[in-house]
Amino acid sequence: MNPEERHIFSVLVENRFGVLARVAGLFSGRGFNIDSLNVAETHDKSISQITLVTHGDAQIIEQIYHHLNRLIDVIEVTDLSTAGTHVERELVLIKIATDDPQKRTEVLQVAEVFRGRVIDMKPASLVLEVTGDEGKLKAAIDVFNTYGILELARTGKIAMLRGSEK
């Protein structure tokens, strides 16, 4: 068995009914993994960008690339993990119980460390927004977990090649 690698695919698709189902169905039907998925319209309204994190050995990754390309509505597939250096980010919203003032102060200090922003505050809880790559988000979540996370939502990864690489 060849070693498994994590790959990030950037997939440009027609912004059309049913395209996401085709992509998701391809992964479930062929037994490929989806670790994270993000879909949104691009600056061109007719095109959507799917950022998909997956893992598998080299042969599986190649199959994923070709099968994505085979979908009629797929305009362009880029394996960001091999196409060049890239930047990646993910945003997470974390709601934490802050029923006592001491705890709230501590949470805010931790948030500072991770450059988190408070986007909602109630007497008994607050909502933080933290952005970063996988390692930073994991570290942040690990620490906030010790204070008791009430709710957590993340966007899934988005990524882009650096500079003029394309």
Binding site: E14, G18, H66, R70, D73
Partner: protein, 558 residues
């Protein structure tokens, strides 16, 4: 001019040169059937079951190379098409399947005869469209035909809401189709083709391994040139039979599970496998770890995802087989491979397909040999099972599109409706349907349209009163526990044929095979069904058991 959506659809089909549309009427497709009423350019062929409609469209496409068209209503009509769509998808057959859908405002409400056909068919079609507005129809039809027949062909589904069929729109048919996200690669990379030529030049034990892709790409001529120029021995898969004449000395016949020992031994010993339009299917390769262990592999395929999927490849070439072979033919030459060819000839002579003839019972292989004697030029449409393998083994195919079968999905019930499509597409050819007793009864209802249209189909049933291929596996691997394979309770197919209005004959003795075939030849005003009652427990050999290597082929008799 404003036309109804249904009329726009029919006019679009005309623009695509559609001759026949195979369908079964129903509520949500009524406007389309209405538009087809009395239509002479696009002829509506009413079938008895939607599965039959989809197989007939498929058979038409396989025989002619043109796009086959099937039509059904929503819900159960659409789901009945599904087996035929999956069959076409697995074998990359160009097809457009049109389904009626409930009114737009009912979609998603679990309305009567509503089914999410786009959802159901997503993994078994090349592409699909849901049309909610009449003004989309013309563009979608043009795109659907373009997608179905270009690149790696496949079925495309057009699901049209009933209000979109009824409402009027301007008919403007696009002159050309340009889809920014769909640009199939036709030409192979010149560097890769040069690499392939270099490998061929060095190889001592090269072999060609051609598949259905050669037929789909209409590249038989180029394949023949390559084979004859290089004198490299060739094996052609179940899906490609006829792409190279099996009567030629270089032909090793079919490889794989029930293929020739020669082809399977050749894989095991070869130092270079040149795959063209074939996909290293598990029924061909057997145990992958033992497959062609000493060979480098060149793989020419239009579908990049097929290359390296099962077997690592040294020289991948993505492109259309016709284009790539044309280029390869310009630069190819071989080393001295005489000893290898001599080895191939030895295997061929030593291990031909063979069976034991009996005097009191009809042997299935004998029937196929006799059919071949009488109908060597015919289009042969086989079903799935033992008879399919015997037909592939004992009928010597010499032309592409002469042999039609469901190789990928292995759909029982495929052949009778597919034969109808083939006969309509090729009216000047004789169409022979070689069927099994299990598969025949799965779509027997399609004898009705064959009788109605007076199609001179030759329906030959190899009747062993069993689901024979499964029974063979039960005999070999399940201790003869014949679970759910005993078909002795089938009706008398000769009498049943007569009830349908066809000619029905029954043959139970070897001496009667020849006269019955003679008689069938003289019947040209409708289908003739011959029920050949054959040896009940004859097995298909050679056989590479599932999971074994090709070198471990069980030869059977020898």
């Amino acid at each position: 001019m404003e036309l109804s959506g249904a009329q726009i659809l029919v006019d679009g089909l005309k623009r695509e040169g559609v001759e026949y549309i195979f369908g079964v009427n129903g509520g949500a497709a009524m406007p389309i059937f209405d538009a087809l009423y009395g239509e002479t350019e696009v002829k509506l062929i009413p079938m008895r079951h939607e599965q039959g409609a989809s197989h007939a469209a498929d058979g038409y496409a396989r025989a002619t190379g043109k796009v086959g068209v099937a039509l059904a209503t929503s819900g159960p009509g659409a789901t009945n098409l599904v087996t035929g769509i999956a069959t076409a998808y697995m074998d990359s057959i160009p097809m457009v399947a049109i389904t009626g859908q409930v009114f737009t405002h009912y979609i998603g409400s679990d309305a009567f005869q509503e089914c999410d056909v786009i959802g159901v068919t997503r993994p078994i079609c090349k592409h699909s469209y849901l049309i909610k507005s009449s003004d989309e129809i013309a563009d979608v039809v043009a795109e659907a035909f373009h997608i179905a027949k270009t690149g790696k062909p496949g079925p495309v589904i057009i699901d049209i809401a009933k209000d979109a069929q009824n409402n009027e729109a301007l008919f403007q048919y696009p002159e050309t189709v340009d889809i920014r996200s769909y640009k199939p690669q036709v030409h192979g990379d010149p560097g890769q083709i040069a690499k392939a030529a270099a490998l061929i030049k060095e190889a001592k034990r090269p072999m060609l391994y051609a598949g259905g892709g050669v037929v789909l790409a209409n590249a038989s001529e180029e394949l023949r040139q390559l084979t004859l120029n290089t004198q490299i021995p060739i094996t052609v898969t179940l899906m490609g039979l006829g792409a190279f004449p099996e009567t030629h000395p270089l032909a090793m016949e079919m490889p794989g599970m029930h293929g020739s020992c020669c082809a399977n031994y050749a894989f095991t010993d070869s130092d270079l496998v040149i795959a063209v339009g074939s996909r290293f299917d598990d029924r061909v390769t057997g145990d992958l770890s033992k497959f062609a262990p000493n060979a480098k592999k060149i793989h020419i395929d239009i579908d990049a995802s097929c290359i390296g999927k099962n077997v690592p490849v040294d020289v991948p070439i993505v492109g259309d087989a016709k284009s790539v072979l044309t280029e390869l033919n310009k630069q190819v030459s071989t080393a001295d491979i005489d000893p290898w060819r001599a080895q191939i000839q030895e295997w061929k002579q030593k291990y031909p397909f063979e069976y034991e003839q009996k005097s009191d019972v009809v042997m299935p292989q004998y029937v196929i040999e006799k059919i071949y004697e009488h109908y060597s030029d015919a289009i042969v449409v086989a079903d799935v099972g033992q008879h399919q393998m015997w037909a592939a083994q004992y009928f010597k195919f010499t032309e592409p599109r002469q042999w039609l079968n469901s190789g990928g999905l292995g759909t029982m019930g495929f052949s009778l409706p597919a034969a109808i499509g083939a006969q309509l597409g090729c009216p000047d050819k004789t169409v022979v349907n070689i069927n099994g007793d299990g598969s025949y009864i799965m779509t027997i209802q399609e004898l009705v349209p064959a009788v109605t249209m007076k199609l001179p189909l030759k329906v030959f049933i190899i009747n062993n009163m069993y689901l024979g291929m499964v029974r063979q596996w039960q005999e070999l691997f399940h201790g003869k526990r014949y679970s759910a394979v005993d078909y002795h309770d089938n009706p008398d197919f000769a009498l049943l044929a007569q009830a349908f209005g066809a000619t029905g004959l029954r043959v139970e003795h070897p001496d009667d095979v020849e006269p019955a075939l003679q008689k069938a030849k003289g019947i040209t005003d409708g289908p003739v069904v011959i029920d050949f009652i054959v040896d009940e427990e004859e097995n298909v050999f050679p056989m590479v058991p599932a999971g074994a290597g090709l070198g471990d082929v069980i030869r059977g008799l020898s």
